[in-house]
Amino acid sequence: MKYLDEYRDADLARSLLAEIAKKARGNWVLMEICGGQTHSLVKNGIINLLPKNITMVHGPGCPVCVTPVDKIDMAVDLAARPNIILTSFGDMLRVPGSKGSLLKAKSLGADVRIVYSPLEAVKIAAENPQKEIVFFAVGFETTAPANALAIVQAHALGLKNFSLLASHVLVPPAIEAILSADDNRIQGFLAAGHVCTVMGISEYYPIAEKYQTPIVITGFEPVDLLRGILKLVELLEAGTPEVANAYARVVRLDGNHEARELLADVFEIIKKEWRGLGEIPASGLGISPKYAAYDAEKKFNLKEGKSTMSNGCMAGDVLRGAKKPHECPHFGKTCTPLNPLGAPMVSSEGACAAYYHYNY
């Protein structure tokens, strides 16, 4: 495949690995923020090919994983109501809330449908005028523009039966939350390339400056990841806590204007509860008053409860990078993808699922 094979090139990967081993003198603890990167690191066996003095810690960049239990419970409650079609991405269906998962709700008769794009949910709304269609929208800055577009399109079509149950999160505040924690051990970040494709990279300069921590914008293929890690090691060894772009083939410095304007129009920045990390100020995107009619929480008068789950799942520690998935006593025993205790075992971006599926 063009534009992919060259970033999976074995010779190039080997020479980058050799370069990393040569340049890394100190012991460095690095975090890749994005769950897509975690999966690529484990799936391609990169974790085990890196020199011993480089430790990769896996970050909270899995939108499904950080969606609070409360929101999942809201979705399950909504789905159980008559006349509602609840739509979402596949992964969300399997995540357990305190009242079970959406998949369980579906098996009990709720109309829950997997869609591949929020625009599909808009189409379902247009085709079913007598029903209320709710799209359970989770995601980072990458997914949020498409969700915003769904609202804009529903508005343009005059659809009154479409709404979003939104749980959008933002990357930079999460990096700050991790760096400002007392027990932080992360010395450098691989920032998520696709988030920067939308948002640009300007948000990262003040963070690198304030916490004296280098941040390298990184892609997802093996060669992209190794280039990101190499750049990060170079910055750490040189003692220069800068922001660098190792994914320039995709990421422009100022991101995607249109997408950002769409986000600014449809959403507003709100404080947000993250599963595992707690409440982080200015870390989420809520639906702006202009589009309040498309906000499922307002439309159906949903109230946040205080649901917690006490099943021994250590998702919080894993999401903060404090623990590796296999350090959890439930990993692979009482918690498997078939019977997950927490979201990181479910999602295709979850660290526990990555270790379960690919690590040996």
């Binding site: 074995a10 391609n44 093996p222």
Partner: protein, 352 residues
């Protein structure tokens, strides 16, 4: 692959009947059932055994037989490269072939949903007839039931197959040893991706066709040529290559070592998998088989296989090992290693 847009209706017109959709009466066993069968099934599948119209059939096998059954519930029932009819025939033919048997007899049982357009049923029947003829398997007994609208999904087909075990063959999991080569007969993941794209209405520049096809001719040749050195045959349908290899490793108490770069995957299939975040190793195949063979003949097996249509991309993808019993490991394209686990639940496309 044969021209996948070919429809049989042109050659064999649908009988003129005074109904255009299946009704509950067609499953009653009464007049309507008989009219449906007379005009459809019995006129298409002409053979002595079926014409007796008895409750069952008496067969006289020559020696050991292989016996298999399967149910087909695919949705949509028509998809690029085939429909539920040839899927059912090829699936059962291939299951027999995997036992090292020559397909002989088939039972054919329909569960039809009230309202199924007769034209669709007719097209499926024609496809079945064509596929059975191609595989030289005889439909010798069958049944038709109709369920209320909403209680089925248009049509379900159950088939049972009987085949004569080839005397030269010695297919048995117990014969799999350390060092044996693991082969796939052709490029993988076509069927599952064709269904997924059709189901979700996703279009790519080049269409993806199901690989639904019988593989028994190639298998018979291998067994005749290489005899007991062909140790195990499996068709990686549901769950794909990864699932079947995990099952083999668990049963044989051995491990499998694969090489990612060796996996034959067509570019368009690989692209579709990439875009949807689907691992082709877990995607269903309907015209591919895995063979575990003695390592010393593996290259020769590949060159024999490659001469058969639908096996052109036969490849050695790995070997059996005792280094990690019951585990399938794969060397990644860049030289790393990962485990290939059993799939938990359904593969779901990723979010971002």
């Amino acid at each position: 692959m044969a021209n996948p847009t070919f429809t049989y209706s042109l050659n064999c017109p649908m009988p003129e009947l005074d109904f255009d959709a299946i009704t509950l009466g067609h499953g009653s066993g009464g007049l309507l059932t008989n009219r449906l069968l007379d005009s459809g099934v019995f006129s298409l599948f002409k053979n002595e055994k079926l014409q007796q119209r008895h409750d069952g059939v008496i067969l006289k096998p020559k020696g050991p037989i292989a016996f298999t059954t399967d149910s087909y519930v695919v949705s949509p029932i028509f998809f690029p490269g085939g429909n539920i009819g040839d899927l059912a025939i090829n699936g059962t033919v291939n299951d027999l072939a995997m036992c090292g048997a020559k397909p002989r007899y088939l039972s054919l049982s329909f569960i039809l949903e009230e309202g199924l357009p007769l034209a669709e049923f007719w097209e499926i029947l024609l496809t079945i007839e064509h596929a059975a003829k191609k595989a030289r398997i005889e439909v010798v007994t069958g049944d038709t039931k109709v369920v209320d609208r909403g209680k089925g999904d248009k049509i379900f087909i159950n088939t049972t197959g009987i085949g004569d075990v080839l005397p030269q063959g010695k297919i048995n999991i117990k014969r799999v040893e350390v060092g044996d080569a693991i082969l796939v007969s052709h490029s993988i993941a076509h069927h599952g991706m064709a269904i997924m794209l059709e189901r979700e209405g996703l279009k790519f520049e080049a269409p993806i066709f199901s690989d639904s096809r019988p593989v028994h001719v190639a298998v018979e040749h291998l067994i005749e040529q290489f005899g007991k050195d062909i140790k195990l045959l499996r068709d990686p349908t549901r769950g794909g290559v990864a699932t079947v290899l995990n099952e083999i490793c668990a049963q044989a108490n051995l491990g499998a070592e694969l090489h990612q770069n060796a996996l034959p995957i067509d570019a368009v299939v690989a692209s579709a998998c990439e875009i949807l975040g689907i691992d082709p190793l877990y995607v269903a195949n309907e015209g591919v088989f895995i063979a575990i063979v003695k390592n010393s003949i593996a290259a020769e097996v590949v060159s024999h296989l490659a001469k058969f249509p639908g096996c052109e991309r036969a490849t050695i993808i790995g070997h059996m090992t005792n280094e990690h019993p019951k585990k399938v490991l794969m060397e990644s394209g860049i030289g790393g290693r990962r485990v290939i686990n059993m799939l938990a639940g359904e593969q779901l496309p990723r979010i971002c």
